[in-house]
Amino acid sequence: MLPWLLVLVAGLLGLVVVALLGRQRAITTPLLYGASLLVAAGLLSVAAAGFARGTEASLVLPLGLPWLGAHFRLDGLSFFFLVIVDLGGALASLYGLGYGRHEKAPERVLPFFPAFLAAMNLVVLADDAFTFLFSWEFMSLASWALVIAHHREPDNAKAGFVYIVMASFGTLVLLLAFGLLAGRDGTYDFATIRTATKPTLVAGLVFLLALVGPGSKAGLVPLQVWLPLAHPAAPSHVSALLSGVMTKVAVYGFVRIVFDLLGPPDWWWAVLVLALGGTTSVLGVLYALMEHDIKRLLAYHTVENIGIIFIGLGLALAFQANAMATAAALALTAALFHVLNHSLFKSLLFFGAGSVLVATGERDMEHLGGLIHRMPVTAGAFLVGCAAISALPPLNGFVSEWLTFQAILLSPILPQWGLKFVVPAVGAALALSAALAAACFVKAYGVSFLGRPRSSAAANAHEADPFSLAAMLTLAALCALAGIFPATVIDQIAGVTEGLLHARLPLQAGNDFLSIAPIAASRSSYSGLLLVIFIAGAMALTAFVIHRFGSRLMRRSDPWDCGYPDASPLTQYSASSFAQPIRRVYGTLVFRAREIVEMPPPGDGRPARLTVELHDLVWDSLYVPIAHAVSAIAGRLNHFQFLTIRRYLGLVFSVLVALLLGLAIWG
């Protein structure tokens, strides 16, 4: 099965050549997306079949470093992430079939799209440090090319620059991590690394590097700054891949290194991961609430959801460090379930935002409104995505959060005091971020899709094309299915936890009413199916009773609005005014938000003004000083640029002597 997967990945790379050769022709766009849809669907079916059977396979190809070769391996973890990558890839290709037609410069997108998909597949398949790093960097560069596809639009050049700096930094950190793992003998294949004994100090260092490297790609605070710039800059189906899939590959990198290669964790790792995860989830959603660009809002929500995933991973580490295998399996299941969920609903939401962008040319919610009338199907699918990401039952987002809460409720028996203090705080952070996410998506949906149109572009919007709609409806259906039949997903993930932790949750398939009970039915259980049946039944019954015994008459009229209907749609609540109460409650602390009211004296003809100042404290307190320091050092070193050849040679000689001396002393 592994050769088949590699052949299909090579097929994706072949598509790059096709895209380069046919870049002048109009037929290339549908051809390429159609072909990548087929290949990704092929990868998905092979991976899903293998995942369901629970097979393992490995393969060494004579590529890469001559003494190492390229190792590839399939286990439960890679199968799970392959399914995520290729499901996202297939649906993004389907969406691209329609969306790609509106692309003004397709030659800047088409070659990199299959390359990006291939790279993500390779990262998940890689089984040695060289192949992993090579694929990782390939993934970064391909996605970078996609981020700067529209490089002439304002802010996109900056986004590309920040992204490439952060991506290079992440790869550098990963390189160091693998260097430490390889040890003195320099064994780079994962099988040897896995069995080697690691000193506590080395393991701790590798853990920190794994947190920083893949963490920066995933968007953990404070390494998230590139993400809300880069993800929205790309074309929307690529944004969906970046947010929905690539951040998951980053999570894969973290899980592979920390849970698989490093061996048993220390408890302080869990404290760090939990604290970062909790901070990330709350900060991500607060940033999103302040945003009125719909794609940036979605990108900040990716940060939030990565925080939720890392909370699950941190809990799993905490339980694993204390040899509580079943509890660790529960927490890891919650995290992986959320990985799946987030890839589903975030792709859906970015597709919806892309359709809005095509229909209106607007990303700014302040110019949208009333789209539910003009784009009913997109609006319906987007609503499902909003409800799912807000963790509302019976959709999928709720199930993974529920599982995380159940894992938190198991943690009072953890013996370490650090964990006893961190875990409740993280539970509060998780609850807070869930409630704020619901607030944020009431804002996003209410301002963009409901109300009256705020611009003529929004008033004249048109429904998306059939391919885009098919992609969105598929994702909406998957969100509902994963929420209503969570037992199936949990039983599949059990294979992954079995491989990583040697423990699994009890089989869920046989429970009454298809409910899930991670520990015991008397302790906690939840059944999405029953809820759907009850809610649908109650709605139907109510409608029947009222229509039968009450009145079924309805007439249309002007809005009431307390007798003073607003003449202009601009008097509606806007995204900023909707978020104002929340900004007042949380923003003064987190963003040092300040409102400046300029009220001219009576008789003065100038308009009154309200200005809101927000500060990104992470950027101001961490990145600006670093940038200043780099530029100051560069200024000092500048005169090395203008030396004579004699002095350069002298410099080279003295550095050589210094290095040899160092070697002589320590070697």
């Binding site: 009333g370 704020l436 009431w560």
Partner: protein
């Protein structure tokens, strides 16, 4: 317990909340009126209002979408389901595997999500004001509720409502610091979530401080009836929840005799009446607070809930 008995009890529970909810609203109004030395509307007035609203034509704004028309049914279904899940006179219900306390909180969250969206659908500024403030209040009340759920769940070793109610009804729990904190927090959350004074005033219209009433301003006829009914159901839900956990006496547990069930029903009605009377007295004694004082009020609940959880993390005996 046979399947027939348990289904009967479940059905009785589902219908009981439906029958009792408007009565509770009328009762609280009556108490408030009597405390102000007014005679007040009759106890059965809410039922009459509902019937009248359901019989009237429904007027919908021109640009209202399908969401505006579907939301009342969805909100009512979610709230009804949630309130039917809280044990009232019997502790263990056959459908309790469907949802635990966390799912119950989230069900109410679903109802609120769609109510806020419906408020923004017509595109009036009042709807926007209501929705915006509602989600601000919910952004604090919901995490506070989750922390209360944590405290109770850690104490009972379960998030399952049936298990929790049985535990509190059968074993002597005694006075616990964490449960005390949870009770205070739960009362604050209940006041906020039901839009009672001092957070919101259910009896006002046309006031810039209003939250819930601003969101439902555009609703009329049967839609309005469903939303009013959901509001009553939610009030009953919170009172039942407080009664089931903190005043667990008299609840019929699994395998009880029919007489015990009947007794449980009587005790339940008495508990709800006392709770409603206390609410009416509290509302009459206090003034409504400014909307930006509400976060402080709810922040207290969140911190109390967190403190309760933290205490149980430190020691199971607190």
């Amino acid at each position: 317990m046979g399947l027939i008995t348990s289904s009967f009890i479940e059905g009785a529970q589902i219908l009981l909340v439906l029958a009792l909810a408007p009565l509770l609203t009328g009762f609280v109004r009556k108490i408030k009126a009597r405390l102000m030395r007014r005679r007040g509307p009759p106890l059965l007035q809410p039922y009459r209002d509902l019937v009248r609203l359901m019989r009237k034509d429904t007027v919908v704004a021109h640009n209202a979408s399908w969401l505006f028309r579907a939301a009342p049914y969805l909100i009512f279904a979610c709230t009804w389901l949630a309130s039917a899940l809280v044990p009232s006179f019997a502790a263990d219900l056959p459908f309790s595997p469907a949802a635990d306390l966390i799912a119950l909180t989230a069900l109410l969250g679903s109802a609120r999500f769609f109510l806020a969206l419906a408020g923004m659908d017509v595109g009036t500024s009042f709807g926007g004001i209501g929705a915006s403030r509602e989600v601000m209040i919910a952004s604090l009340a919901e995490p506070a509720m989750i922390m209360i759920v944590f405290t109770i769940a850690l104490f009972a070793g379960s998030t399952q409502l049936g298990t929790i109610a049985t535990l509190f009804a059968t074993s002597p729990v005694g006075l616990r610091v964490s449960l005390g904190l949870a009770l205070v927090a739960l009362v604050i959350v209940a006041i906020a979530e039901n839009g009672r004074i001092p957070v919101d005033n259910p009896a006002t219209h046309l006031e810039l401080t209003m939250v819930h009433e601003a969101m439902v301003l555009e609703y009329s006829g049967r839609h309005l009836a469903l939303i009013e009914f959901s509001t009553s159901l939610q009030l009953l839900l919170y009172l039942s929840l407080i009664a089931a956990i903190f005043v667990p006496w008299g609840v019929a547990i699994t395998g009880a005799t029919p007489a015990a069930y009947a007794f449980g029903g009587l005790v339940y009605v008495a508990k709800i009446a006392i709770g409603g009377a206390l609410l009416g007295a509290f509302e009459s004694a206090i003034a409504k607070m400014r909307v930006f004082r509400v976060p402080v009020f709810l922040g207290t609940a969140l911190m109390l809930g967190l403190l309760g959880t933290l205490l149980l993390f430190l020691s199971a005996s607190l």
